[in-house]
Structure formats: structure tokens, C-alpha cells
Amino acid sequence: MPRKILVLVGGILLVLALSECGSRNDKGTVEGEVRIDGSSTVYPITEAVAEEFRLDEPRVRVTVGVSGTGGGFNKFGRGEIDINNASRPIKEREASQCEANNLKFIGIRVAYDGLVVVVSKQNKWLNEISVEELKRIWEPEAQGKITRWSQINPEWPNEEFHLYGPGIASGTYDYFTEAVVGKAGSSRGDYTASEDDNVLVQGISGDKNGLAFFGLAYYEENKEKLRVIGVDGGDGVVMPSEETVKNGQYMPLSRPIFIYVSDIAAARPEVRSFVKFYLDNANFLVSDVGYIPLTNEEYKIELAKFEAFLSDEASDGSATERSRGLSVNIIPSNLLP
């Protein structure tokens, strides 16, 4: 009997020792956790960065949620997360919430994104759509009344269309409604709304009368199931691609996407390390997941902004003024031809 116990204990110790050998407890320079949430559009980039970061800094626990830009800002404002993925700039209301909780923040551009309009592969007849037509489909007045393709364009089939799109917590939704309908957050309500773009892809892929909008990356990921259509923003029909988004041709549906970091979070070395890693490696990782990277100079500028934010909040400066960022410009100035 004592022999058996000895063998058992020895076995357990052996397993523990082996697991210690495999563990990378001495690797990396920081430890802790980084809590990230927010936009489903920015998620693929942040998740890709997090995966690489974990290899370099295995003692840092990085978690990335997908509550939508608005949902993320809510948590960000309450200090529940360190970084918010945002596919639109922060709103006044959200900024005031941060102020009310004594939180300063900085918005950092990480990539450019195009919003694509997609239909299922079974739809063979729709190849292009104008912003005007999109507006007539998606505006609030269309709710319950505009339900058939032929109501928008008499040449289109007389069948009911099914709409899919992000819900109101999504920055993509805010941006699309501002660019297409003219007012952020203003759209019809009778469509399948989900902050999870995978749900939209699933819905559209099986629906020959479906029409959806979401970020370019989700289209790139699911090219076999979806068909993207060109958008006419007033200057002819443009198909979305890395080129047309980068040079501003694909408008009005091109936009920068951001991460927002709070000063309380930036005080922690693991968060600083993560953000710097992000900006250092974004160039490669952003293209990898299907988005359009900023130019190298632009990444350097963003990094400098972040450094300034850090030194500013160390001396308790007015970082908030500078970091309030842009209101939702349809075409950011650097994308203008």
C-alpha cells in the first residue's frame, strides 16, 4: 500500500515538473491582463494582434469581446474594459460618460475599412446599386412600406427582399446610416439585426433575396458564399477593394477604424506594451485579415500620439481635448483625392 502511494505521488510530481518545463513562465517582460471589447469590424484585427502578442508575452491575458462599438463604449466608459474597438469615433454622450467617471482616453486609428453591400451567390441579377437606392431601402420611412425590389427600381424583380445588417450597438451601423441615410442611427427597424457579422453572413448566404451591409473583411473571409455589389456614390459605380478604399474612390462607404485606450488602462505596462505592439505590427496584420493598413508614416503618427498621451497623462495634461477626435466625416481628409 505505501508503495502505491509513493508511485502515485511520484507520478503527480513528475507531471507537475513536466508542465513547469513546458510553461513559458520566464518569457516575456510583462504580465497581467488586457480587456478589450467593442466593434465586430475591428475585432479580427485586434484578435490577430492579440494572438501574436500572446506569443511574445505569454503571461499577459488578452480577452477580446464583440459587443458592438456602442456596447463597448458603455463598458469602456465605466472602466470595465481597457481598450475599445471602435468602427466610428466616440460620440458626445459616450465621451461625457467617460468624463463623469474621470476617465481620459485617446482614439488611435488602426486601419481603413470599406463597408460592402452584399447579396447571396444565388442572386444573379443585382450588380450595382446607388447610394440613393440604398437610402430608399434603408431609411426609417421605408419601414413596413418598401418591401419589394421593384419598388426601388422597376427593372428589378417584383419579389420581397430580406435585409440583414448590424444592430444599433454597432459602429458599422452608425457609419452606414450616416453615410447613406444622412443621419447616424436612423434606419428602418424591420430587418435582421445582429452585432455578430457571422450571423449576417449565415443569413445572407442562404437567402437569394437577401441584402446586407458589413465590413469588407467579413466579405473577404466568406467570398464563396457571398457576392459583393458595386456602389455608385455619385461618380460612377465602384467595386470595393483595397485599392479603391485606400485612394478614396469607394465612397461614401470608406472609413478609418480605431481603438480607444483609457488613461487608467495605459498606466499599466501590459496595456502600453500591447498598444505599442499593435501599432508596430498593424501594417502586416491588418492586410492579413483583409483590411487596409494605414501608411507607415501614419502608423508612426499614431504611435507618437499615443506616446504624447502617455506623457501627458503622467503630467495630468489636457489629452482629452486632442483625443476627442473627428466627428463622423464622410470622407476623412487624408482620403480625399
Binding site: 459587443s67 458592438g68 456602442g70 456596447g71 463604449f73 458603455n74 426609417p140 420611412e141 419601414q143 413596413g144 430580406h162 444592430g167 444599433i168 450597438a169 443621419k183 442611427g185 436612423s186 434606419s187 428602418r188 427597424g189 424591420d190 430587418y191 435582421t192 439585426a193 445582429s194 452585432e195 450571423v199 449565415q202 443569413g203 445572407i204 448566404s205 442562404g206 437567402d207
Partner: protein, 281 residues
């Protein structure tokens, strides 16, 4: 001491009712009950706000109906088989297998409906959307078969042997005895089982949230995407509505509607059980 344990459940129920009523009170002072019950659109989060519960009710009703149409025939037949036909060893083996159906996590059922059942149905049902009430209803039916079969089986078992023997004595076959004598005799218990199954289906959240869709749609066509009351509650509570706003209160308005239905169903089953129980000693 033991009374305290019972008190805990009573207090919990009272607490839930209190929360539901107090929050939806605020809702109903802004939105009239008439609008709530008759408007045909439910879009409280969007620019044009409509607060008609009918689309959500029709979603819940449609999926529940399909679930019950699937589960009741199958459940009752399984119960009859287990009670009247199966030999004891087979019964012992089959019952746990049935319980497994009930033990599968509902989120797994949801994805099963979305990724297996829907594509399969799409091969022969024309016009079936990727999110639809039909596959969600069918899978929910699968899920509540154990509820119905287990309770029906207990009801069938409670029928006195003398009734069966009298039927055989009259020359009836096993099938005739089972379906023309025993099942009608156990009908009150079977009704209770069905009603509890309905209550379970109405309250089911994950299967419908994943497979039935997120678009409130007033329709009786099972091929379309619908949203149930439970799926709506999930959708809103995971989003970014402001605490205390009217949109936030819609959660409680939807919740109290759900509660009212489940409560009525439970009371109905109670009443039925009491009413018909004494018939067969």
C-alpha cells in the same frame, strides 16, 4: 425551519413579479396598452419606434406550435410504447437515452438547427430562409419529447390494470386497448404533460435566438425568419441600451408578457389535473 425553504421559493417568485411589474409600469405609462397589443410592428430600438408585441407573440406562437406538433405525437407514441409494449429490459435501456435528449445544452441544439437542419430542409422546402421558424420549431420539438413522453408515461402507468384486463377480456387487440382505452383514461395526465411542454417551448431562448432569426416579423409562414419574445430579450440585453430608458423598459414589458402566458399555462395544467384526476380512482 423547513418552512423557510418553502418561503425562499415564494419570496423569489414574489421578487420576480415585483421587478417585472415595477419596471413595465414605467413602460405602460408611456406606451398605451392598446398600442402594445394591437400595433403590428416591433421596432423600439430604431428611428421609427413601434411597440406592438404582436410580431414577437407570433414568433413565439409559431415556433411553439411547430414544436408541439412534432413533440406531442412522437412523445405520446413513445410513452405508449414504453408503457404498453416494451419489455422491461428494453424500457430500462431506452429511458436514460431519452433523458439524454433533455440533457443536451440548448445552445448546442440551436447550432444543430442552424447548421444541420436548415441546410437539410433547404434541399426540399422551397423558399426556406437561412433563419426560419421551421427548423427552430422542429429542434425544439425534439428537445421537449422527453418532457412529454416521461410525464405521459407516468400518466399511463397510473391507469389501473383492471381497465386493461377488461379490454383484453372483451377481445380487443393490444393496439386497440392502448389507444382506445388506456390513452383516453390517462388523458388528463397527458394534457398536463402537453401543457408543460408548451410552457417549456414558450420559454426556450437559445434555440430560437440562434436558428429562428432576429427580425420581428408578424407572419404565420414557418419558412420566414421570426423573432420570439425570449430572443428579443437576449438581443436587447446584450446591446447598449441605456439603463432606465424606454428601450430598456421594453425588456420588462416583453418579459411580463412571457410571464403572464407561462403563468396562465401552469395554472391551466393545475386546474385540469385537479378536475380530471378523480375520475379514475
Amino acid at each position: 425551519m423547513l418552512a423557510l425553504a418553502g418561503l425562499v421559493t415564494v419570496l423569489t417568485t414574489a421578487g420576480i413579479i415585483w421587478v417585472l411589474v415595477s419596471e413595465s409600469w414605467g413602460f405602460f405609462t408611456t406606451v398605451s396598452l392598446w398600442d402594445f397589443l394591437t400595433d403590428t410592428e416591433w421596432t423600439p430600438l430604431f428611428a421609427e419606434k413601434n411597440y406592438g408585441i404582436l410580431p414577437l407573440l407570433s414568433g413565439t406562437f409559431l415556433t411553439t406550435l411547430i414544436a408541439i406538433l412534432t413533440a406531442v405525437p412522437l412523445g405520446v407514441v413513445i410513452a405508449v410504447y414504453l408503457s404498453e409494449y416494451a419489455n422491461p429490459e428494453f424500457r430500462k435501456a431506452l429511458k436514460p437515452t431519452l433523458e439524454v435528449l433533455a440533457a443536451v445544452p440548448t445552445v448546442v441544439y440551436g447550432f444543430f438547427a442552424l447548421t444541420v437542419v436548415t441546410p437539410f430542409l433547404q434541399t426540399f422546402v422551397p423558399g426556406l430562409g437561412s433563419f426560419n421558424a421551421l427548423s427552430a420549431g422542429l429542434v425544439m420539438g425534439l428537445m421537449i419529447i422527453p418532457v412529454i413522453s416521461s410525464l405521459s408515461e407516468d400518466a399511463l402507468h397510473a391507469v389501473p390494470k383492471s381497465l386493461r384486463e377488461a379490454s383484453y377480456g372483451m377481445g380487443a387487440t393490444r393496439f386497440q386497448t392502448a389507444f382506445k382505452v388506456v390513452v383516453p383514461a390517462a388523458s388528463s395526465g397527458i394534457m398536463v404533460a402537453v401543457i408543460l411542454g408548451i410552457a417549456r417551448a414558450i420559454g426556450e431562448t437559445m434555440v430560437v435566438a440562434i436558428a429562428a432569426g432576429q427580425q420581428p416579423n408578424l407572419t404565420l409562414d414557418p419558412r420566414e425568419s421570426v423573432e420570439t419574445i425570449t430572443a428579443y430579450i437576449v438581443q436587447v440585453s446584450l446591446g447598449d441600451v441605456e439603463h432606465g430608458s424606454l428601450e430598456y423598459k421594453t425588456i420588462f414589458a416583453a418579459g411580463i408578457t412571457l410571464f403572464v402566458f407561462t403563468f396562465m399555462l401552469n395554472n391551466l395544467s393545475f386546474w385540469l389535473k385537479k378536475r380530471y384526476e378523480e375520475r379514475y380512482e
